[in-house]
Structure formats: C-alpha cells, structure tokens
Symmetry: none
Subunit: 420 residues, 2 copies
C-alpha cells in the first residue's frame, strides 16, 4: 500500500453549518500519516443525495482509499451507506448478527428500539463489518477493483474506538511502512530568515521530508523519514537534522516538538535547579507557564507579581529614587527587582521582567513593547532589553518566551541575545 492515496469524506449538514468541527479528519489524517498513506483531500458534504453521490464518485476516481465519517444513523437523512453501495454496485443486505447487537444495545439501556434502527443492520453485501461498542451504527470496509471504502460513524466517541480496533490494524497490515519524525523547534528568528537559512535543504529533500510551520511566536520544522523499520528511519533522520542544526545553531531548542517552558522545566529538573520570578508587565504568566507543567514543585519556589510601584518597593526593595529617576520600565529597575528577588529566596535561577505591554503607557523614548529582562544563575548575571511588537497579548507572550529562552541559555551557558 506504499504510495497509496487516501481521501476523507465527512457527511453532515451540521458540519457545514459550523455547529460542530470536523475533528475526525485531523484524527484519521494523523494516523494515516504514521502509516505513510498520503491523504490528498478532506471533503465535508451535507446530507444531500446528489452532492453526496458526486463527492463519492469523484473520490473513487482519484483515490485508492476512501474513508467516510457520518451519515450512518437511523434516519432517512442518513445516506452514506446507500450512496456508496450504489456507486460500488453492491446490494445492501441484512446482517442478522448486527441486528441482534443493535437490539441488545437498546435492551441494555432500557430503551425502546424503533423500526428505523433496523436500517442500521443493512450493510453492503460481502463487506467486513466493524462493530460499534458505543452506539448503534456499525461501520464497514468494502473492497472492489483495487479501491477500498471504509465507512465509520460521525461521533468521535464511536468512530475512534472502531478506527483503532479495526481500521488502523487493517491499514497497517497492508502498508508495511514506518514513519518517524523529528520536530525541531526554533526561537529567535522570523519565518523568512529561517527560510533563507534552510530553504535549499527543504527543496533538496524528499525522504526524509523537511516541512517548516510557523506559529505566532515560534517555528517548527518537521523532518519525517519513511521506510521499512524504525531504526532505519532514525538513521536517515540524523544527518538531515544535524545539517539543519548546523545552519540554525542554538536557535534550535528542541528536537521533540516541545514548548520552551517544557525545555526549561526539563533542564531545571535535570540540573537540580530551582527558579523564582519577579514579574511586572507579564503579570504572573512566566510563573504560570512553568507551573503549568507536572512536577513544578521541584523546580519552582516562588514568584512575585509586583505590578504597582509600591509592590516593587515593598516586596523587592526597589528604591523609590530608582523608580523616580529611571522609571519602572528601566534597566535599573529590572536589576533592582532581580536583586530583591535574590535576597528573598534560595533559588538558583532568578528572573525579573518589567516592560510596557500597552496599549497605553508608551512614550517616544519608551514605546509600548519595550521590555527589560534581568536574570541570574550562579555567577552569570544578564540584563537585556527588547522592543517587542504586536498587541498586549503578544507582547506579554513574547516577553515570557524571551525570559524562558534566557533561562535556557544561562543553564546551557550560551550567549544571550538582546540589547545590552
């Protein structure tokens, strides 16, 4: 089944009305990708006989495997089985054992079974039945002239167990391939700079493939090898990953798709280090990100959210003079916050952040987005400023990521970027 092409069809007007989201498509796609089966299309179509029929016919022409979700219910709006059977020239026949299962389903739940539920026991002649343990609609696999059609019910609660129990093993047996990925996470450069640095590698590669994805604040580069065994795949990945790393250096902070807080948390755990924080413009978000991860009690001691000047003075011994002379957003205040924090705790890593998250409070000299981050670990102490862009949410987010990256760099003894 190497190189086989699959296509997913979700049937249901509620999807087209936006009442529910087609989460099944993502779920099934991810699993098919693991098997090296190429998915070329997802289609969502309503409970309309003509459009459903056209969609299924087109899919059978251009794809080897067609997987449908939805439209297997008991009502006359549910047309998937009927339409596919017609397109594949199969009769629908009564499966007695399935009828029995459906009857039992109602008996067990003390519910009355209606006549229209019988419709669900009719399936294409000669198909492989996929029993449904969580509902009344069975699924099925139909093979015909080199094409495979797999029908599954729409509710993920029913679909997922049926996919895992029957469909995935069925496809895996035919596929006989292994896919292994590395997810390189990159922080500190933009999309185009990343592309300039590695685009020739992306273009050159076929197996492993290299695919960059850009989100709000970081970049992921997925490197995927497809072959016969896991070991072989790993061997194919290593040189490609190394080549990318040689271009991007310490901008790469993970090979396993982790977040920056996961990487920092792991480093703190590994080195037996404990961290404390003093935050102004980020409002506790830096602490919350570290503490969002399990095991935080071993690596996080305490945090201060000194949002007011009074709090900076009372909790962190920032001097009134400093606040008056240099302002709450200044290198001097950041360093005094850090010093106050260091006096208060016996932690190893200390981080202080002060800045202007906006939308108000900016001046020509100190624009919205100006952030100072001071941090220390053992005999290393740095203070850097950044001019961050975007709205309040984005500035707070980026300030936290900058701070996390500084902690990572202090632990790994790497150079810390930013304005001195």
């Amino acid at each position: 089944m190497m190189g086989m092409i699959a296509e997913l069809i979700a049937v249901g007007t509620e999807l087209l009305m936006g009442q529910i989201s087609n989460t099944n498509a993502q779920y099934i796609s991810k699993r098919l990708a693991e098997l090296g089966i190429n998915v070329y299309f997802h289609t969502v179509v309503g409970d309309n006989p003509e459009r459903l029929n056209n969609t299924i016919k087109t899919a059978l022409e251009r794809s080897d495997i067609v997987i449908t979700t939805g439209g297997l219910g008991p009502t006359k709006d549910d047309l998937t089985k009927e339409t596919i059977a017609r397109a594949m020239n199969r009769k629908l026949v009564l499966y007695e054992d399935i009828l029995k299962r459906i009857e039992d389903f109602f008996v067990k739940r003390h519910r009355v079974m209606y006549k229209n539920n019988e419709k669900q026991a009719y399936l294409p002649e000669g198909c492989t039945v996929i029993p449904n343990s969580n509902g009344t609609a069975p699924g099925c696999i139909v093979e015909e002239a080199g094409k495979t059609v797999i029908m599954l019910p729409g509710p993920p609660k029913e679909m997922i167990p049926m996919f895992e129990d029957v469909v995935f093993p069925y496809l895996k047996k035919s596929a006989g391939v292994v896919l292994v990925s590395k997810m390189l996470k990159i922080f500190g450069i933009g999309e185009s700079e990343m592309e300039t640095r590695i685009m020739d590698l992306v273009d050159m590669q076929n197996n492993p493939t290299i695919a960059p994805y850009v989100s709000m604040s970081d970049i992921t580069v997925r490197v995927t090898a497809r072959c016969g065994s896991k070991d072989e795949a790993e061997e194919m990945l290593r040189p490609v990953v190394n080549r990318i790393r040689s271009r991007l250096g310490d901008l790469v902070y993970s090979e396993e798709g982790e977040t920056l807080e996961q990487v920092v948390s792991k480093l703190l755990h590994e080195k037996g280090l404990v961290m404390s924080t003093a935050e102004s413009c980020t409002g506790g978000q830096l602490a919350a990100r570290i503490i969002s991860l399990p095991g935080a009690s071993k690596i996080f001691e305490r945090g201060f959210v000194t949002y007011s000047n009074t709090a900076k003075i009372e909790e962190l011994e920032v001097s009134e003079q400093t606040l008056t002379k240099y302002g709450a957003v200044s290198r001097e205040t950041a360093l005094e916050m850090l010093n106050g924090l260091m006096k208060k705790t016996k932690s190893h890593v200390h981080v202080a952040i002060t800045g202007i998250a906006g939308p108000d409070g900016g001046t020509p000299e100190k624009p919205v987005g100006l952030v100072y981050i001071a941090a220390s670990l053992h005999n290393q102490l740095v203070c850097r400023s950044y001019e961050l862009m975007g709205n309040r949410e984005r500035i707070q987010n980026d300030a936290c990521l900058r701070a996390l990256d500084i902690v990572r760099r202090l632990i790994l003894k790497l150079e810390v970027p930013g304005k001195h």
Copy 2:
C-alpha cells in the same frame, strides 16, 4: 445574496497530515449561516499545484462564493493566489502600499525582510485588498462574472480579525439583512444541565435563533435575530434573552460574550476596587488573566505565587503548624494565605488559592482536583472548596474561573456556590 451558495477551501499539507485542525472552516461556516448563506462543501487540499487548481475550478463551477484559507505565505509552496489568479484570468500585480506595510512590519520588529516576502505584496489586479494586522500575508476579494473569491491567510489569529473587519461586513452588505446577536456567557453548570433548563426554548425558536456552544470551561448561548433593521432586531432579542435569564439566573455573567476576567475587570474598574492575589496551585495564572487586560494598573496591586511551603510561611505568614497539621491544601491554609495577603496590601479584593493540580500529589482524602479558594471584599469573607475534574491544565483553568466567579459574586453581593 440570499440563497447564495458558498464553499470553503483550506489549503495546506499540514492539515492533510493531521498536524493542525481546520478550525477556520467551522468559524467561517457559523458566521455564513448567520447571514443565511448556504455552505455546501468544505475541502482541504495540499500545497500541490494541480490538485489545488482542480479544486478551485470545481468550486468556481458549482458555487457563488469561494472562500480560501491558507497558502498565502512567502514561500514557493504557497500557491493559492497564483492558482486562483490563473483560474480567474487575472494578472498578479504589485500593490505598493501593501509592500510598504510588509516592509514596516519587519522594520518595527527589527527583523530583516527577505526577497521572498515581496511576493506577498502581489495580488490579483483590481481586487479589494484585506490588510493583515497580525502577519505579513494580506488577503483579498476578487469578483468576476457573478462569482466572488475571498482569500484569507491560514493562521486563525490572522484570519479571524480580517474576516470580522472586512469579509463579514462585505458579505452582510450584499446579503441585505441585519443580524444582531447577544452572547450569553454561563459559568457554573454543565452542558446537560444547561440543556435541561433551556432546550425547550432552543427547539421552539426560529428567529431569533438560540445556539448553545460548549467549550472546555464555559458555555455560550448565542441568540441571533435576523431582520431589516438593528432596532427591530434588538426588540426581538430582548424577550428571548430575558426568558433564558429567568431560567439560568445569576449563572449568566455576560450578555456580550465577554470572558469572566473581562467581566471582573470591568466590575473592579466601575466600582474603583483594587485586587491582590495569593496563588499556589494556579501558579500566577489568576493574576496573569487579570493583567492580560488593558488598564490593569488601576485594578491590580500585587500577586504572590507561593508555590513552596517556605514561600507561604515567609511571604504570607502561614504558620508551620497549620501546614503540618492540616496540609498546604486545606481550608486553614487558604484562610491564612488570605490573611497574610490582606496584611500585606491595601487592596479591596483579596483572593487566595491552594489546591492539588496533579497529576501527582493526590490522596484518598485529598484527591487531585481538590481546591480551596478564600476571598474577601470589605466585610464579606468566604472560603469554599471544589473538587475539580480533568488534567492539570483543566484544573488550573477551572480554579482560576472559580476564583474569578467568586470575585464577581462578592462585588455583586450574590451567593457564592461551593462547599463551605
């Protein structure tokens, strides 16, 4: 445009690989449904010239409005614009003002703009440009022979503001109807209870429509009236909103779709109140949520993240005996944290949270999810416990929402639910 047929095309191999979910389709479909525009198909197609071309051609044949998301990036894999321009016989031309915007985007971020970003300033000749405030890829609207093609970038952070600012008003104008919605936000009950309480109203209603949406931690009920004028719509909405409110009482915390932190922040501003926090299991997230909103300096004074016992003792004067005898997660500790916090600040509202966020640390007597929240305002002081469900993220999130709801109830002098 009433009775018009629309079709959504999402472009991106990462969707077909299951790396991300096509949430844009649901978002746009829901908004089009409100305008009475019928969506007949969603299609996801990869970054492949031939398949993309076929998909777009088919869509232009069978639909009046085609909306694409994705494929507008700077790389040569991004083909949406080029393919659509060819299908519609339009040249791509350089839009100088867009080029300027993109250049500014990089200058502001102190980032180098690369040659390939220039590609994003090329758009179909004679199109309506949709500026992008959160990224470099502009969108556009192209009209030709009764067909409308609307191109939007893939990341929801960029797509949604562009859709709301330009596309929705554009479509609404053509549709010739006025839509007015109230977004009732509900906190404190589950989906089935909400359904039991209002489902008869949902089923009864046609215009205004009532649509409940359930997310991880709260429920939104959107009530939408469609008619000729805004005043008329408002008049239709009021009795329906009142009927829902009479069923749900003070569980409804907003009619305007606000978050709980927005509602609390607004109440604090209105009443001239200032808040301070002491957090253990939520790790600063409560403070960060309040401070995520503009104007926080007027309503938030300081916060403590006393994650370790030492921090609870040193910062909040929690007694060692209390910690030994009752444990860090106990009513007694929560109240001592609150008292310590009240001594430290001159704020009006004080909140202290301690709990077990898991996955470890639970016992039969104190399971994961047990959270104590103590809070005070003037002469009101409450302490409640909750047994929250789910993983660490969910427990931390729900604990913050519970705390915010308590603050709302203290300010509005409403009863506070939870175990005494």
